[in-house]
Point group: C2
C-alpha cells in the first residue's frame, strides 16, 4: 500500500552503494499516465540543494513523468557541479524512459556538502529502471530512508480512485517543511490548478505544522503526481480533504519516528484572535528546549509553556491564559491551577491545550520531546 497503489504508477528501490551499510538507497517512481499532471512544494531555505533547484524548474510546467530519489547524500552546497549532477541524473533516467529531461524530478537526502558518487547513481538508475513494477512502492519507500527506523507509507481509498504516499524524514523536522522527501500519487485526473491548490492547502495544515527540532532543511520536497488512470475527475474539496488526510498521516509517522523522541506532543492553541496568533504561540512552545526536556522527564512544566508564549507578540492577556496538560488545567488565568500530580505523562502521546481567551480561532502544532537519544543521534550523525 504505497505510491503504486493508485493505477498508472510503477516504482522500484535498489541498493546503489551510496549508503555504507549496503542498504537500499535509490528509488524511481514513474507515472505512466495517461496524464502526467504534477505539483510540488519545496523548502524555503535559501541554501536549497541542487536537486531542489532542478526539480523546481522541472515542475514549473505542472508536468512530471518520473521522480528519482536517493538517500546517502543531499547534494546540497555543492555549487554548479552539484547542479550538473542533478541534471545528469534526470537526463539519464529520462533517456531510458524516452521522456524529456525536464519531466524528471530529482530528490536527494543525506550529508550536506559532499558530491554524489555519480557512477553509482547512474548504475543505480539503470538497475531501478529494470526493476520498475506496479508492486514496487514499498521498495521505493525503503530506499529513501536515512535515520528513519522504518519506511513510511499511506493510502487513501476513494470510490474508484486512490491516493498513495511515501515519506522519509526523522530529524530537521521544522516549520515550512523539513529534511523530508514525500511523493504522493493518485490515479485521479487533476487539472494543474487543482493539483497545486490541493497540495498547498494540505501541506499548510500538515507538514508545515510539524516542528520536531526547529531546523529547516535544504532538501525538503513534496511531490504530487496524478496519472488520471481512474478516469475520474474529483470534486476539488473532496480531493483536498483526502490529500490533507494523507499528508497528516505521513506527517504523524515522521513525528512518531523523530530522532530519539519518546513523546509525540500535540500543542493545541484555542480561542485566539487569529489563526496566525494561534500558530505563533504554538510554534514558540514547540521551539522551547526547556519545555521539550521537561516532557522527556514526564514533568508537566507549565511555567515553561508560559515563558515561551511570553516572547511572542500574539494577542492575549497574560492574566487570562489557561494551560492544560493531558486534560488537567495546571494554569488558570495565568496563575497556579490544578495540582501537577494529577497529570500522567507516561504515555507517548501528550496534549497541551493553551486557551488564550482572545477570540475564536485555533491551530495545532506537533512536536517531540528533547531526549538523550536526539543529542546522541545528532552528535554522531553528520548531515
Amino acid at each position: 500500500m504505497s505510491v503504486t497503489t493508485p493505477r498508472g504508477f510503477r516504482a522500484a528501490g535498489v541498493a546503489a552503494g551510496l549508503k555504507s551499510t549496503g542498504k537500499p538507497d535509490l528509488a524511481v517512481v514513474v507515472n505512466d499516465g495517461p496524464d502526467q499532471t504534477a505539483a510540488a512544494v519545496f523548502t524555503s531555505n535559501r541554501f536549497c540543494a541542487a536537486p531542489v533547484i532542478w526539480s523546481r524548474r522541472a515542475v514549473a510546467d505542472h508536468r512530471l513523468h518520473a521522480v528519482v530519489l536517493n538517500s546517502g547524500g543531499a547534494n546540497a552546497c555543492t555549487g554548479e557541479a552539484g547542479l550538473g549532477d542533478s541534471a545528469e541524473t534526470a537526463h539519464h533516467l529520462a533517456e531510458q524512459l524516452g521522456v524529456d529531461d525536464h519531466d524528471v524530478a530529482v530528490c536527494s537526502t543525506g550529508l550536506i556538502g559532499e558530491r554524489l558518487p555519480m557512477d553509482k547513481i547512474l548504475t543505480g538508475v539503470d538497475e531501478a529502471v529494470v526493476g520498475l513494477s506496479g508492486e514496487g512502492g514499498m521498495d521505493a519507500a525503503n530506499a529513501i530512508i536515512t535515520t528513519d527506523t522504518h519506511a513510511k507509507t499511506a493510502v487513501f481509498q476513494g470510490d474508484g480512485w486512490s491516493i498513495g504516499g511515501m515519506a522519509k524524514g526523522a530529524g530537521m523536522l521544522a516549520p515550512q517543511l523539513a529534511t523530508m522527501l514525500v511523493v504522493i500519487t493518485t490515479d485521479l485526473s487533476l487539472t494543474a490548478d487543482q493539483a497545486r491548490a490541493a497540495l498547498t492547502a494540505s501541506t499548510e495544515v500538515s507538514f508545515n505544522r510539524l516542528d520536531s527540532d526547529g531546523c529547516m532543511s535544504t532538501n525538503d520536497s513534496v511531490l504530487l503526481l496524478a496519472s488520471g488512470a481512474s478516469g475520474i475527475t474529483p470534486d476539488t474539496d473532496e480531493f483536498t480533504a483526502a490529500l490533507a488526510e494523507i499528508c497528516l498521516n505521513l506527517g504523524h509517522q515522521l513525528l512518531g519516528d523523530a530522532e530519539g523522541s519518546s513523546h509525540d506532543i500535540t500543542i493545541h492553541v484555542v480561542n485566539a484572535a487569529s489563526e496566525r496568533d494561534a500558530l505563533v504561540v504554538g510554534r514558540s512552545i514547540a521551539a522551547s528546549n526547556l519545555f521539550k526536556c521537561a516532557i522527556f522527564g514526564n514533568d508537566p512544566n507549565w511555567g515553561r509553556v508560559l515563558s515561551s508564549m511570553g516572547t511572542t507578540d500574539a494577542g492575549f492577556e497574560p492574566s487570562r491564559v489557561d494551560v492544560s496538560f493531558n486534560g488537567v488545567m495546571l494554569c488558570r488565568g495565568g496563575e497556579i491551577g490544578d495540582d501537577r500530580a494529577l497529570v500522567d505523562l507516561s504515555p507517548r502521546e501528550c496534549t497541551v491545550v493553551v486557551d488564550l481567551h482572545a477570540g475564536s480561532e485555533q491551530a495545532i502544532v506537533w512536536t517531540n520531546d528533547l531526549t538523550y537519544d536526539y543529542v546522541r543521534e545528532n552528535a554522531e550523525y553528520s548531515s
Copy 2:
C-alpha cells in the same frame, strides 16, 4: 572581589531555608551612598514575574537603596498574591533600613508557579540585615545561585573608583536576557541618565548576545547601583566601556557554566550589510539544535550552519558565503572548502566565523553546545 568592592556597599547572604539543600538562598545588597542612583534592565517576557513588576516600579525614579534577592523560588505566574509577596519582602527590608519601600528592589529565581514561603523569606531578611558587611559580597553571590556550579563575580578597578558585579544563571540564557540575576555596584557618582545609558549599552553587547538555549526567562534582572562614595564623576564613555567589560566578563562566566555544556561557542558574523543582519545570522546559528549537537560531537558540521542561515532574511548571496571553524575555511563561496579533518574541536572554546561578503558590519553571538547533560538537568530540574 564582588559587589562590596566599591566603597559604600554592604551585603550579606544567608540560608533562609528556601532551598531543600539548606544552602544559602537569600541575599541583601545595601547602598549606603551618599548617592543612591540606580538603573535596571528587565526581561521583556510578557509573563514577567512579580519581583520584576515590583522592581520595575521601584527603579522608575532612578533610585534604589537596597536589593533583596532569593533563589529557591521565582515567584512567577503567582498573580496578585505573588505581587503582594514581593511588596511585603521589600517593605520588610525597607522598614529595617529606615528607607522607603520603593527604594528596595526584589529579585527572585527558581521554580515558576509556586508561592514563596513568606515566613522563611522574612526571617531570612532579618538575618541578612544583621549580617550586612563591607566584606559580604561573596556571601551574597553564593546565595543567589541555583543550578550554577559556582558563584560568579567580577571587578573592574579604575583610578580611585571601581565596579563590582555578581551574577547567577546557568540555563534559559537567551537573547534579551535570561534566567539571570545581575547586580552591579560602583562607587562612582553617576547621573541617572549616565547610569541608564551605560547599562543599556553594556547589556546590549553582552547579556543580550548570549544565547545558551533560546529560552527567555520570566525573571531576568540586571541592576546597577551607584553610591558616589569615591567622589569621582566619570567620563561617560570610559565608564560605559568599563561597565561593558564587567557585563561581558559575567556573561562569559554564565556561558562557561551553562547547564551541561561542553563547548563555549563564539559565532562571529563579519562583512554584513548591517549589524542587524549580522545579529540575525548569528542568532539563527546559535538557535540550531542540530548545529549545537554537532559541536558536542566535535563535528565541524558547516552544512548545519548554512541551513540555519538560510532561514533568515539577512542580506547575502548564498553563493558568496564563507564559513570557518577554528580558523579552517570549510565552506568557501557557499560550497565545499577545506578538509573537515583539519579542524580540532576538542578544546572547550570553539569559534565559527561566517563571512557574508555583503558589507562591513559585524556582530558576535555566544552560545553553548547541546549535550546529554543539558537534557538531563532540564528533564530533572523543574523550573
